[in-house]
Amino acid sequence: METSKAIKLKVNGKQLELLAAPNSTLLEILRNNGHVEVKCGCEKGDCGACAVILDGEAVDSCLTLAWIADGSEVQTVKGIGTEATPHPLQTAFIEEGSVQCGYCIPGIIVAAKVLLDENPDPTDSDIRVALSGNLCRCTGYTRIFSAIHKAAQVMREGAQKNG
């Protein structure tokens, strides 16, 4: 514990300094500092419940050492959108009935956000590949796929209007 050091992280736009042991994972320090919207389903990189956006990329925070994330920018599902300013993905997940127990959803929205940032018009198979690291035991994914398609469309239309 003596070897813990303070690391700098920008989480959902807020600059934080957090104490982390050399073997602490990003998941642990996020959850221990109130970011319990990042879920833990396996701690082994198998389930994707802990996915966050680290400098623009979706990562399993349970496999990422906190020290390695020092100086990085992290976005969780809460940083992607809130009730006041929902992301089109969140709205679509709600409307399409894509949420059951909800435990996988923070990670899945993270993976979907990164996908849509890179690929505004994904095919079915693009979506399947993007979510292949995110387990969902409840929904059978059907409504998750349709929500992602819907959000992509909303975002494309929005981009057209603004552009």
């Binding site: 514990m1 959850r31 319990v36 919207e37 879920k39 833990c40 389903g41 396996c42 701690e43 082994k44 198998d46 389930c47 419940a49 969780t76 599902v77 809460k78 959108g81 809130t82 009730e83 929902p86 969140q90 997940f93 709600i94 409307e95 399409e96 009935g97 949420v99 059951q100 127990c101 909800g102 435990y103 996988c104 959803i105 923070p106 929205i109 979506i127 399947r128 590949v129 979510l131 292949s132 995110n134 387990l135 969902c136 035991r137 409840c138 929904t139 059978g140 994914y141 059907t142 409504r143 998750i144 796929f145």
Partner: protein, 778 residues
């Protein structure tokens, strides 16, 4: 895709304003924004962290447990072993029931003289940090002495097998004797006999078991936990020797259950540590611990012998079932009963003989899991149906049509089926929805499979199940539903809000459901057995209707019209005969309050009861009612690699009445993939009782890349016992999936694989057997 099929109804049509519409579930937004707190997200100041020390072998005598070094570690607040606890076994009440205890469910909280399964808990630790608790666990030493174990269910039943507990390894056994099977087989033109085997499946809910417990300033032990059953407060109070009213369990939104959080999860461990330390204690299991902590799906051996006429009619059926309960019986007797009663499936079999037994072994425990014995039977009876069809040159649909049970018929136990039986319509629609058949080639073979089922909803009648709910309307027109049902992800609390909104004519956003609290809310029983909506929905509807009656009585006097001339819709009370006589509901509630009208009501719904089965014939009434439906699928089998790909998967079910079609479709779609996992890839493997698939790296569940084109077809007979004529849906949607996939694979490659899961290896072996002529071809 959802399709609601409008159909004739068996009950008078009700005009529904909210029920039956795809409404947004009340819990969905906060889950999508990441605001929902699950049990493992909770903390308290001064909280301790718990760990569990578990046995490293499945069967042994415990000579000594040495905790001295663990206790001495700085920051360790408490280490408990069986020797520190009052000498009490936990006798699990039938979960969620208020009545008597069941026999044979006694299980030590922590292992004492003997270890009976791999990773059985031996000691509990609470410490100032997670790391200290983990270090303390590493310091515990146990001295074991060898003790023989038994790991095969058939072997466990032979004379001289090592005894797991007590004086026999038979946990429960049943028989059904109906009609005259001897004569039935004489009348048969053909007899088909096969043995099927199903494997252990892990629930694999995404949220591992978690909870937080503390003693409060009223000397009440509080436990916030991820559970399907808050009624375990009684077992906990009894184990601690404290009064029932001093244990307060609150179920958080549960990150999936599927039966795996129906037994005690970790409530007891938390309770012991919090009670002993008088400090808040949190325990979150790792995935590996979760795999061994709850009972999985019972593996079954199912032997079927069916006699049929040339036209496909079944004249007799003989069934033998053997299941494995693991070391402690938990709900095994009931799982076996479901399989026994469900053995002939949705078919009328007048000459029926069933013998079933569940054996204790030193394998990991098995307990409740969606489908609860019935889905294992479905794999066998539907496999048998296809084998019959193939032998007689009939289509799978034709042979089923000859045998379907119908409303008014009596089932395996002689119970008369009162509700609609739309097996045939469901089967036809599911098959039709498969559309054009995919094209195969020399290597890739295409096959189609159909499976029908009969799955009960509601609990066993002699449990005398009941559910309570309280509904009240506030003076601002908002509505409160209080009901201790747990919300395990299928929208349980949202459904109750929807029902109250429908009855009281308010928008759903005006309703809040307070759920999952065993002390502050009226007890409602478990979220299991596809009973939650049936039982708590009826109780909520009854309570809301009484509130409505009270409001309308006042409004009738006020508007000088009879109460049945008034309607409550769109947040107004309005006279149908004179729409000018109308006021908003908040005003109505306010004026009722001023006049002392009761604006709330507590209602109890009671399920139909019976006194049990005749032990010799197995005849009697077991369940309240049944759901019927079908699943059809199309698969592609690569005959070179053995790989099976599900291309299309369609569930068609008569749900009675869908409250929220999106949620019903969600159950069907989720079931399609979970059933696919059971059919093709999921298997808990144990070597002599030792788990060799302890994580999602070894235990593979279907991912986004395995999802077929999935379709949910909802039929509504409005003939069920649930609110608005609904039937239970959580398990029925799952029941036929694996069977339909197994049938599709057999159709594709022309040879059946009798043992699930159907892995590539088994496909290759089956094809090799077929090529070498070792398979009898019909």
């Amino acid at each position: 895709m959802v399709e609601t099929v409008p159909t004739a109804t068996n009950s008078p049509n009700v005009q529904l304003h909210q029920v039956g519409k795809p409404l947004i579930r009340t819990d969905a937004p906060n889950k999508a924004y990441g605001n929902t707190l699950y049990a493992g997200d909770l903390t308290m100041p001064g909280m301790l962290y718990a760990k569990v020390f578990r046995a490293d072998r499945p069967s042994a005598l415990i000579v000594k447990v040495d905790t001295a070094r663990a206790r001495a570690l700085e920051g360790v607040r408490c280490v408990l072993t069986a020797w520190d606890l009052p000498d009490r076994l936990v006798v699990t009440d039938i979960p969620g029931q208020t009545g008597g205890k069941t026999k044979n469910t006694a299980q030590p909280i922590l292992a004492k003289e003997r270890v009976r399964f791999f990773n059985e808990p031996i000691a509990l630790i609470a410490a100032d940090s997670e790391e200290i608790a983990a270090s303390a666990r590493d310091l515990i030493e146990v001295e074991y002495a060898p003790f023989p174990g038994v790991f095969d269910r058939a072997e466990a039943l032979t004379a001289g097998a090592p005894l797991v507990d007590g004086d026999a390894n038979v946990v429960a056994a049943y028989k059904i004797r109906k009609g005259d099977t001897e004569r039935g087989f004489e009348e048969a033109d053909l007899v088909i006999e096969n043995s099927f085997r199903t494997q252990v499946q892990e629930q694999a809910f995404l949220e591992p078991e978690a909870g937080l417990a503390w003693m409060d300033d009223k000397n009440v032990l509080n436990i916030k936990v991820s559970t399907q059953v808050v009624e375990h407060f009684r077992a906990i109070a009894d184990a601690l020797g404290i009064p029932h009213n001093r244990v307060h369990i609150e179920a958080m939104y549960v990150g999936g259950g599927f039966g795996g959080k129906e037994g005690l999860t970790i409530e007891m461990m938390l309770a012991l540590l919090a009670y002993n330390t008088r400090k808040p204690v949190r325990l979150i299991l790792t995935r590996e611990e979760s795999f061994v902590n709850h009972g999985n799906r019972h593996p079954f051996t199912l032997h079927y012998r069916s006699g049929v006429k040339k036209d496909g009619r079944i004249t007799a059926m003989e069934v033998r079932l053997i299941a494995d309960s693991g070391a402690y019986s938990k709900l095994s007797p009931y799982v076996l009963l479901y399989a026994t009663v469900g053995a002939p499936g949705p078919y009328k079999v007048d000459n029926l003989k069933v013998d079933s037994v569940v054996a204790a072994t030193n394998n990991l425990s098995t307990c409740a899991f969606r489908g609860f014995g019935t889905m294992q039977a479905c794999v066998a009876y539907e496999g048998q149906m296809d084998e019959i069809a193939k032998s007689l040159g009939l289509t799978p649909l034709e042979v089923r049509q000859k045998n379907f049970i119908h409303t008014g018929d009596r089932n395996a136990t002689g119970q008369k089926i009162e509700s609609a039986v739309w097996s045939e319509q469901c089967a036809i629609q599911a098959l039709e929805a498969l559309g054009e058949r995919a094209k195969g080639n020399d290597v890739v073979k295409i096959g189609r499979g159909l499976a029908c089922y009969q799955q009960s909803y509601g609990r066993i009648r002699w449990f005398k199940d009941s559910s309570e709910a309280w509904v009240g309307i506030e003076v601002d027109g908002t509505v409160i539903v209080r009901c201790a049902v747990t919300d395990i992800g299928a929208g349980q609390s949202s459904s109750l809000a929807q029902i109250a909104a429908e009855v009281l004519g308010v928008p759903m956003e005006k309703v809040v459901t307070y759920f999952g609290d065993c002390t502050l809310n009226p007890l409602a029983g478990t979220s299991s057995a596809s009973r939650a909506l049936y039982m708590t929905g009826n109780a909520t509807k009854m309570a809301a209707t009484k509130v409505r009656d009270n409001l309308l009585e006042w409004a009738g006097r006020h508007f000088q019209v009879p109460p049945d001339d008034l309607q409550l819709v769109e947040f107004r009370v309005t006279a149908i005969s004179d729409p000018a006589r109308s006021m908003p509901i908040d005003e109505l509630a306010r004026r009722c309050a001023a006049d002392g009208v009761h604006r709330h009501h507590l209602a109890m719904f009671k399920a139909p009861t019976s006194e049990g089965l005749d032990p010799e014939t197995g005849q009697g009434e077991v369940f309240p009612d049944f759901t019927y439906g079908a699943h059809a699928c199309e698969v592609a089998v690569d005959t070179e690699t053995g790989e099976v790909t599900v291309l299309k998967s369609v569930g068609a079910h008569d749900v009675g009445q869908s409250l929220n079609p999106q949620s019903v479709a969600g159950q069907i779609e989720g079931s399609a993939l979970m059933g696919q996992g059971f059919a093709l890839c999921e298997e808990i493997i144990q070597r002599n009782g030792v788990l060799v698939t302890p994580s999602f790296s070894e235990y593979l569940i279907p991912t986004s890349e395995d999802v077929p084109e999935t379709k949910a077809i909802i039929l509504e007979s409005r003939s069920g016992l649930g609110p608005f004529g609904s039937k239970g849906m959580g398990e029925p949607a799952f029941a036929p999936v694996a069977a339909s996939i197994a049938n599709a694979v057999a159709d594709a490659i022309g040879v059946r694989i009798f043992e699930l899961p159907i892995t590539s290896e088994k496909v290759i072996n089956a094809l090799a057997r077929k090529a070498s002529g070792q398979v009898k071809m019909h």
